[in-house]
């Protein structure tokens, strides 16, 4: 009756090496390639591209614009998101979970879809404004084609991001701290000012940095709102340069992408600084503070809440939907003009659009599946096998997502412009280069929930399996994966949603045959076919909302905070 443990001494090494190589291939290698291009453009030591890029006035105008909309959008997002988080978390407003579900939707809708929806809502051709008889004269300028328009939409898009982070912070606020202050005689406003907000500073600062990085790196909103107005930010400048000059200008746009990377890096460093001072583990089992009674102000607060939902979500989507139902630009919507022809066209007639659905679906599924399978061993190393280098591994996995998508896209272009060495495979101008970029960019979306899941699981569960004789591979399969799978899979769903209508990366990497949904929406809109763009956008919103509701069904088995839209 002797029992021997599994002798797989090599498994540890293989796992660690395998995971490290994958992370390096997806993060370190492209970034090094980019850095190499900046120092040695096209393989020769030269400062010419650097000089060209940095001496052009367009570069500095775009940098200034990037900072402008970045700071403006961040401020709006922080104010909106924090206010909503405080209202929802600390007061007794009703309908909270539905509100959270709806408020988070703009974050999950691709920025270019948000942009398109708002454009359709406010433009002179807006079927909605026409319906209520408030449409401006045809030919007049859409008010959203402006700096204010971009800032507003960035604020709307990333307000939920701030909301989620501040809300997560508020949830961990032990109620004793609030109750102790109340029983010391402080009024609710004083408690908010002297206890709650100071304790929330790490969350708010972290959220601010994240919102800033997202705003600065955003491509969809300034592309739809800025390009027509001649207002370029760095990502759209890079896109235009590359679209006009092709691979010849790669060295120059590499410098531009470094510039945007540096701006974003400032935000990342700030965020890393604050998150290091925070322990993500649930320290106390205390219940959240009991909500403040709003009394007679409650109906007012609730009206404001739902008004916000109507403004940031319902109206734009209605505008988008109505546009998708009219036959042509500017046609007013009536029972006579309403048509599903746009849907039929993009689903069945337009070859590129048909391909795009197929491509985006495949890319999203592949990126999600890959991330799920890499995230579990990677998360395991980072949380339960802490060494000096696992933190580095974590940062490396974060990098391709934290940096603006444009940076990763340029790095991928540089990496794969020439056929792969040795095997001679050419993936430039194919769908595979987009897949590579997606794998790199979205891995962290599955890694983060995995890490937070693992942190909530007692490690003795693994140790118990270890003393029972199970080797690493078996423990991974029978203990760790089953325990953390719900969290990781939820991350996979998040990846699918994000990748499904992604534009920033694919706008720079696509070629004929490898169009994505995001690219097709962009092309239709640029070609003036807003109706087709609206039809596809509506379809993506339907897909995303259906996925949200579907995953909600399984939310019970998930650790808290894994599904952003679930309260």
């Amino acid at each position: 009756m002797t029992i021997y443990g599994e002798k797989r001494q090599g498994a540890d090494t293989v796992l660690i090496a395998g995971v490290a190589i994958i992370v390096a291939m997806l993060s370190i290698v492209p970034m090094l390639r980019l850095a190499f291009e900046i120092i040695m453009p096209q393989g020769n030591l030269s400062a010419a591209p650097l000089r060209t890029a940095l001496s052009g006035s367009a570069t500095w105008t775009a940098t200034l614009h990037s900072l402008q909309v970045g700071i403006g959008g961040t401020l709006l997002a922080v104010i909106l998101g924090t206010a909503v988080a405080l209202l929802v978390s600390l007061t007794n407003v009703r309908g909270r979970s539905t509100f959270v579900l709806l408020y988070v939707v703009p974050l999950l809708i691709a920025p270019q879809v948000t942009a398109l929806a708002w454009l359709q809502l406010f433009g002179p051709a807006s079927p909605f404004l026409k319906l209520i008889g408030m449409a401006p004269a045809l030919g007049s300028k859409n008010p959203l084609y402006s700096t204010t328009g971009i800032i507003t939409l960035l604020g709307v898009q990333y307000g939920p991001l701030v909301f989620l982070m501040v809300r997560a912070g508020l949830r961990k606020l032990p109620r004793e701290l609030v109750e102790a202050a109340l029983s010391s005689g402080a009024s609710r406003l004083t408690v908010l000012r002297t206890i709650i907000l100071p304790l929330m500073t790490p969350s708010i600062i972290g959220a601010t940095a994240l919102a800033f990085v997202s705003c600065v790196g955003n491509f969809g909103i300034p592309a739809f709102l800025g390009i027509p107005a001649g207002y370029l930010v760095l990502p759209t400048l890079i896109y235009q340069r590359l679209a006009g000059g092709g691979p010849a200008v790669l060295s120059e746009v590499a410098v531009l992408s470094m510039l945007i990377g540096l701006i974003a890096m400032a935000g990342i460093l700030a965020q890393d600084y604050t998150s290091r001072r925070r322990d993500y583990r649930i320290a106390s089992t205390s219940l959240p503070a009991s909500p403040f009674e709003l009394g007679r102000w409650r109906p007012l607060a609730e009206v404001a809440m739902w008004l916000l939902i109507i403004i940031v979500l319902v109206l734009p989507i209605v505008g988008l939907f109505l546009t998708s139902l009219v036959a042509a630009y500017g046609v007013p919507l009536s029972m006579k003009t309403v048509t599903l022809a746009n849907y039929a066209f993009v689903l069945f007639d337009h070859a590129a659009a048909k391909r795009a659905f197929f491509n985006s679906f495949g890319l999203s599924i592949a990126a999600a599946a890959f991330a799920v399978f890499v995230a579990v061993p990677l998360g395991y190393l980072i949380t339960w096998r802490k060494r000096w280098w696992t933190r580095f591994l974590n940062l490396s996995a974060e990098l391709p997502y934290a940096l603006p998508g444009v940076v990763l896209a340029i790095a991928s272009l540089l990496l794969f412009l020439k056929p792969l060495p040795i095997i001679g495979l050419q993936i430039y101008n194919t769908i595979w280069i987009i897949l590579y970029a997606y794998l790199a960019r979205f891995l962290v979306l599955a890694l983060r929930p995995t890490i937070s899941g693992l942190q909530q699981i007692d490690r003795s569960l693994e140790e118990a399996a270890q003393v029972a004789g199970a080797g690493l591979i078996r423990r991974m399969r029978t203990i760790i994966f089953p325990l953390v799978a719900p969290a990781t899979l939820a991350g996979g769903v998040l990846i699918f949603m994000t990748a499904f209508s992604e534009l920033t990366v694919s706008a720079l990497l696509w070629a004929s045959g490898s169009e994505t949904i995001g690219v097709v929406i962009f092309s239709f809109e640029q070609g003036g076919d807003s109706n087709y763009a609206a039809a596809i956008s509506t379809l993506t919103i339907v897909v995303i909302f259906a996925l949200m509701l579907l995953t909600n069904l399984f939310a019970r088995s998930l650790p808290n905070g894994v599904l952003p839209w679930r309260d």
Partner: protein, 355 residues
């Protein structure tokens, strides 16, 4: 089953010494408790024996086979050491049977034998018929027993208990203590039982290793620890002994010597070879203190706590620094602030007074 030999083991984390030069020799089938306040290094010791941490110095031998030394570490999965974790560590995604049978499955034991051994293990902990339940649907005591069965089923050479009763309520603790004792009797397994509760350790263990600040302070039977504590720490940690300064007036004869304590002379027990010293420490139990007439030691009562059938008196000696406590049987009573006289009838001269 096997003995465990820990020789000169040192474990450091950074520049913090979690364990310094600890040696323990545990015989086959012995029930050993490792006792100490939190942070004393007992959990580190357990993790070293299990193989989760690697020693910096020294060796750990199980059943004659070296498991750890500074150059080599047999991984936990190959040690055949069982652990009952403080929080049971039952896998929530598996049924009771799957939890118990996991190690057999890992060892590729065929299905029929596996099922039979799972059944036997569940019978042993009195959980027949619970095989299909999920851990979430069990009570605290039942989970504890599943954890026991899980660790038993693979016939480990050594079973480690990591504060297994810390999460249970008082009533359950007593019954689980009985359970552990009978478990040990039935299986004859060598057990290392980590705890910070001295009553638990005294009740269960053949021998107790008392640890403090990473050092092994004393390794002895419960009776010896109580009667002859080696250091002031052990004296005060075990059954709340009082540690008082005293003068040893005569050298040891037949295990006894004369001491001067609080100005009174008394005959105390002491170690063989105890020499005369003016700087000794003695250990006194409350039972060693009896009320005396006016010629005794004068003390002032600080607090009197009724304990049913008598009171526990906390008092301070005339010099206002030495605190004493003793039991006063009904119907006698003492009020707070009152002065009274006591005599110290017996005690133990602590051998290593200045540790």
């Amino acid at each position: 089953m096997a003995g465990l030999k820990i020789e000169n083991v040192t474990k450091t984390f950074g520049d913090y010494d979690a364990l310094s030069n600890v040696s323990l020799d545990v015989a086959n089938g012995e029930f050993i408790a490792v006792l100490g306040p939190s942070g004393c290094g007992k959990t580190t010791l357990l993790r070293l024996v299990a193989g989760f941490e690697q020693v910096n110095k020294g060796t750990i031998t199980v059943g004659g086979k070296v498991m750890s030394d500074p150059k080599m570490n047999v991984p936990p999965e190959q040690r055949r050491v069982g652990i009952v974790f403080q929080n049971y560590a039952l896998w929530p995604h598996m049924s009771v049977s799957e939890n118990v049978g996991y190690s057999l499955k890992v060892a590729k034991v065929d299905k029929a034998e596996r099922e039979q051994r799972i059944r036997q293990a569940l019978e042993l902990v009195d959980l027949q018929g619970y095989g299909d339940r999920r851990p979430a649907n069990l009570s605290g005591g039942q989970r504890q027993r599943v954890a026991l069965a899980r660790c038993l089923v693979s016939t480990p050479s050594l079973v480690l208990f990591d504060e297994p009763l810390a999460n249970l309520d008082v009533h359950l603790r007593a019954s689980m203590e009985d359970e552990f004792a009978s478990f040990h009797k039935r299986t004859g397994t060598t057990i290392i039982y980590i705890t910070h509760d001295q009553a638990e350790a005294m009740a269960l263990a053949d021998r107790i290793a008392v640890m403090d600040k990473g050092h092994l302070v004393q390794f002895a039977t419960p009776r010896e620890l109580y009667e002859q504590p080696a250091t002031p720490m052990v004296a005060s940690f075990i059954a709340q002994g009082m540690v008082l300064p005293a003068k040893v007036l005569t050298a040891e004869v037949n295990g006894q010597c004369k001491v001067d304590i609080l100005g009174q002379e008394a005959i105390f027990r002491c170690r063989t070879g105890q020499a005369v010293t003016g700087d000794a420490k003695v250990c006194i139990r409350s039972a060693d203190i009896v009320p005396a007439e006016n010629d005794g030691i004068e003390v002032r009562v600080k607090r009197s706590v009724y304990r049913g059938g008598g009171s526990r008196i906390e008092a301070v000696a005339a010099d206002e620094t030495q605190e004493l406590h003793f039991d006063l049987a009904d119907p006698k009573r003492l009020a707070e602030g009152e002065t009274t006289h006591i005599a110290i009838t017996s005690g133990w001269v602590i051998p290593e007074a200045n540790v």
